[in-house]
């Protein structure tokens, strides 16, 4: 039963990945979540809001994660309540940090 559920989970994630490109998959408190990548508009909005209200960094980060969540939404609210920093980050990286790191694209530079 467990292996069937895991195979089903992998299939679902693969389907989502083919639709959205690179996904961030996180397991928090035994629940699996998948997040689609940050887009230009969302990054711009997040940066602007964070700059205006840095004291709301955790709430803003969690909101972004909720917006981008495409798998596991049914458990997201309860897990966010119990483990907000798993999403917002803090001393350790959270989901938002991985999303932002992916949004950098790993660019390299050279002068020609």
């Amino acid at each position: 039963m467990l292996s069937w559920r895991m195979a089903d989970l992998d299939t679902q994630l693969e389907t989502l990945k083919s639709k959205h490109g690179r996904l961030v998959v996180a397991e928090v408190n035994g629940h699996t979540f998948a997040f689609r990548p940050l887009d230009l508009a969302k990054v711009s909005e997040f940066k602007r809001n964070l700059s205006k209200s840095p004291e709301l960094a955790v709430e803003l980060s969690v909101n972004v994660c909720k917006f981008l969540c495409i798998f596991g939404q049914e458990n997201l609210d309860s897990v966010v309540q119990s483990c907000p920093l798993a999403f917002a980050g803090g001393a350790e990286a959270g989901v938002i940090d991985v999303l932002l790191e992916n949004a950098r694209g790993g660019v390299t530079f050279r002068t020609i």
Binding site: G21, P37, L38, D39, L40, V43, S44, K47, R48, S51, K52, L100, N102, A103, R104, G105, G106, V107, T108, F109, R110, T111, I112
Partner: protein
């Protein structure tokens, strides 16, 4: 500005080219970013779009996959402009040192400095500025000696 010195940015097998940025443009971007920190990401996007040497659609597609690359690209363009300015200043200093005994070259440098009206300074304008700075320094030095002599005479 040297022709051909473009910034190439690569990610996920795609490459984009960006025009070299002058010191004045880099300064304007940095000032705009500092003036409104809440819109800093939008400032980065605008700056990067202005310097992109290619199809806008290609940049849009690139940034839709990696939005935060805009900030890194903007920073790289400013670093490149600063490096070019440092290099131009170093060339200017060398030129100034070589022209120290050559009246003709001193005159040429001063004329270049007089004609300078902003943007990236050519090596001759930098050399001209250094000549003027040196004269002012010597003039101050001569004035201090003069003051010291006057004070010494006053004490007698």
């Amino acid at each position: 500005m040297q022709i051909g010195e473009r910034l190439a940015v690569s990610a996920d097998g795609k490459e984009l080219l960006f025009r070299p940025v002058s010191q004045a443009e880099a300064g304007a971007y940095v000032r705009a970013r500092s003036a409104d920190p809440s819109a800093s990401f939008d400032t980065d996007l605008r700056f990067v779009s202005e310097q992109h040497a290619g199809e806008p659609a290609a940049l849009e597609a690139f940034l839709s996959r990696a939005p935060l690359a805009a900030t890194e690209i903007a920073a790289a363009l400013v670093r490149q402009a600063n490096a070019r300015t440092r290099e131009a200043n170093a060339v200017g200093v060398k030129r100034w040192r070589r022209s120290g005994q050559n009246a003709g070259q001193i005159a040429e440098n001063l004329l270049a400095f007089k004609a300078y009206s902003g943007g990236d300074p050519p090596a001759a304008a930098v050399a001209g500025a250094l000549h003027i700075a040196e004269w002012l320094d010597n003039t101050r030095g001569i004035f201090r000696i003069f003051l010291a002599v006057v004070k010494a005479l006053g004490r007698k």
